[in-house]
Symmetry: C5
């Protein structure tokens, strides 16, 4: 019953997944002028945030979410929690907010861990600029320009028999490496942003997947489920699925 060696981690941008439902009854009942104002202020908000007008760095994107849990997802990546806090409250100051309710959210931070890039963390001079670029791309990722998004939070299991946190470092490292191999088979088809959330939200990680073809997301996750890192050590939360849309299409989206 010894303490296991944790991987070193490095954190980058803070991330807010801001899920909102549309109050369709209010929307249908609203006079045209109010709707128009809501659309204009909504587009202004979304456009400004996608342009990262509120910070030196980061990214934002907007999605139409399928199903009853939410209608919209606004995804924000920013250098600080303060930026996210402000972005969340500024939405509430728009006329669009009159027609939405924030029903779900997830707070996390981009991370790279020492499983993947031990040399980097062991302080060796990173001459390998490929590695440096890779790490930079994980800590300060571009939001992929793909049509669909899938988001879910997850934990690593701490059961009496399958306990991720009680495995030796090398075993965890091997498992993560095998897990990563599957992801690489889908390179180009599915792009992921992995964020850590211990201490920030109810699960340990958030996973955000992007793909043009939704079936590729399903195939990737299904294949991973047969890998021991998932089959024996993963606990999944809720899944949300959406389609990206450019802010200027907000009016068309709300028109049905």
């Amino acid at each position: 019953m010894d303490r296991r060696e944790p991987p070193r981690t490095e954190e980058g941008w803070y991330v807010l997944h801001d899920f909102r439902t549309v109050d369709w009854d209010a929307w249908r009942a609203a006079p045209d002028r109010e709707r128009q104002r809501a659309i204009e202020e909504g587009i202004d908000y979304l456009t400004a945030h996608e342009a990262v007008a509120d910070a030196d760095a980061g990214g934002s994107a907007t999605f139409s979410v399928l199903g009853h849990d939410a209608d919209l997802l606004v995804l924000h990546l920013r250098p600080s929690m303060a930026h996210l806090d402000t972005a969340e409250r500024r939405f509430e100051a728009t006329a669009l907010a009159d027609f939405t309710e924030q029903t779900d959210s997830y707070l996390s931070v981009t991370e790279v861990s020492g499983y993947m890039s031990q040399d980097y963390f062991e302080g060796e001079e990173v001459e390998d600029t490929g590695m440096a670029r890779y790490i930079e791309s994980r800590l300060k990722p571009d939001i992929p320009d793909m049509e669909h998004v899938s988001f879910y939070p997850m934990d690593k299991r701490r059961g009496p028999e399958d306990n991720w946190y009680d495995l030796p470092f090398d075993e965890r490292s091997d498992l993560m490496s095998g897990h990563g191999d599957i992801g690489r088979d889908y390179a180009g088809d599915v792009t992921q942003i992995i964020t850590g959330s211990v201490g920030f939200d109810d699960y340990e990680w958030g996973v955000t997947l992007f793909a043009d073809d939704p079936a590729q997301i399903k195939k990737l996750l299904y294949e991973m489920r047969f890998d021991p890192s998932s089959s024996r050590y993963a606990e999944f939360g809720r899944f949300r699925f959406g389609r990206r849309f450019p802010p200027e299409d907000l009016g068309a989206l709300l028109a049905g």
Copy 2:
């Protein structure tokens, strides 16, 4: 602790189960003209979608749902997520939406897996046109013309002792085959549409059963529960039960 071989899968139409409750207080209080308009727009929406006027292919059907969780189920099968996204939002643009709330939903895609039809997936020339037709009927299914529907989502178990995803391929294949045998005993009485939802919704599969005699659904599922594929490896979500009705009966349905 090796990675297990996943079955290959092929995906077909995307599927939205759209569950809605009726706001009966508002319905009783509404003037006749408003009710009439809601019924007309509702019938128009449902008729157009059942006729698949919005896409080249697919199917839709409408059900009255028993119990407190929902009053209506609108089931949509379409070639793309974009079709489903639009169908869901278009409902909100009808006057009927004033009297309903979307309280539940399920997002998935029809699938066939390599457990059932390995030859097909192994690239052998499918001379067996029966097999080809079978697969087509699973990926692009007709919605059966039967009175009752039962829907539930499910996972395969990943416990420390009973772990579906840690079984060898052949064992899973045998289990699926035995499971399928039970279903075949009910051919003609119960028809099913199996959809995959990994990455799309909270469970791994959705199961939609159709039957004229509700007791046949109960008997089939009860018999399956004694089969190891269910008794040891299935985790079930909520169950919803409904009765199909033609769109033109919407007014009678809402009249009580």
Copy 3:
């Protein structure tokens, strides 16, 4: 890991437990004339359904439910799902519905299983008319004329160690028989209606107990909990408890 033999079952009447809360704020605020109309239409609905005016056979009864989950339970037994579907929606067409909300429900069907009456199911000529009458009384039960009701749904456990569905038939039959013995000790004091709900609602069975003395229900269930069929194999859902009242007392009940 073989498939176990399921018991044969026979199904009878379909059953809806329709739980509703009273909107007491609206009730207190309503003018006398509206209240009077709600009471009259409520009594008409309940009286007609208790008289089974809507079907050739069945039964209905009304209960005041204690606690915050519900205020009323309307219990319907009918020959078809269509009858239940109509009964549920007809309630919404009454003025009483303005003051209630359907917050819970359970959908099931009366059943007898081959554990209890194997001869019957084995096609032997049932000369034993006592057995025939017993089965008839389970499939088409009279609602007992007793003051109190307790309802709960339940599953049989499918854990890695205690797995009901993985027990041999004879072992399950012995367990059910021992379980039944306890029930028989309470004959006259507690009467039960057992209904199956696989495919219809979230649990596998619904149990509805009737007694004049509430303590007898508690004693019966507590005694059963020490029987292995419960101690090792039962998973219980929520419990609801109520007191029967005749429809004509509805006004007094709502007066506080």
Copy 4:
């Protein structure tokens, strides 16, 4: 896999824990006259019930509950379920009810069990009038005159390894006896009312603790958690904590 011997039990008064939140927005917005009427009718209701004007025997008490789950707890002990049913509905007939919502409740009955007092249950003549008085004090308890209350429901565990209901009677009796010893160490500081709820509510028991010093409740329960009857066999539900107030202080309480 034999049936275990249940303890015999005797039941006394039925108990309703009636938890309500205050609608503070409505309260602040209400005209003085309405508030005054709500306070008066609230005090009348609480005073009459604490005086048990509605029954031959029993007791009632009122508490301010901390935290978001509830603001008020009205605790009723009465000889019959009918008394509780009436008490619950009569609250809804007061003007105070306009400003509260019943958000939680618990329904149970006082009990003594054969673990504690086997002689009594074995029909031996109870010459020991101390024992008779003890049992009477458990079945028809006075509500202790102490400042704080803690309420929680609980089950005994039925896991594959730790299964209370599968232990021999003597082992359970020893465990209960050891458990009781801890309670006795806190005599005078913490007083408890134990109620059974199998068949009445979602857990098997309700525990209501009273103390002037809240830390004594914490110390008692923490100490018990190291006793096997809790550490291996208890499953706890939600915890609610409140402070008693006399009905005449209702106005001051609502004033903030």
Copy 5:
């Protein structure tokens, strides 16, 4: 199956975590004068409580909470439950309360336990004034002046294999000591307030962490998760994350 020795504990200030959402729709719709009054009364309330005007001792602080669960956290430490009860209700008497709803809360008390400071509890004269000061600082803590806060409740596990409450005292003491070592590595970066809640709220402890750099909270908790006290014995509840703000910034915060 013997009773294990509990650690002795000493309790200090009672603690209420009062989480509230802002009703943004009402806020946007309110006339300036009402908003101004809400801000003024809100600032008065927060300022007075941060100055502990209502008690002889204690502390309060206010935070903006990220995500959908809450918008504000008001944290109160006070010498008695009565103080917390009053503080909670006084908030409801402010005009700010018109624009907030209490959606979550946690009730607990500061504690030190005999694992950490056995000598102190064993009645040895505490000449070590360092120890005395340390204990005082845990029972009557200053709220750290740091930008971010993370709150979560937790239990120690009582599973059949990993059962904290069934470990010998010395083993628990060693585990707590190792656990504490990790915390000490983050001294200066992360400060914690540990509170006990057995009998007061749904979990056994509340953990409130303070840091200027949010990543330090994540790193600390992630490292602890590999320590057996967490990896094998901890069960975590929900996580909430916020940013401190001075009461006078309330208006700016609500402005978006």
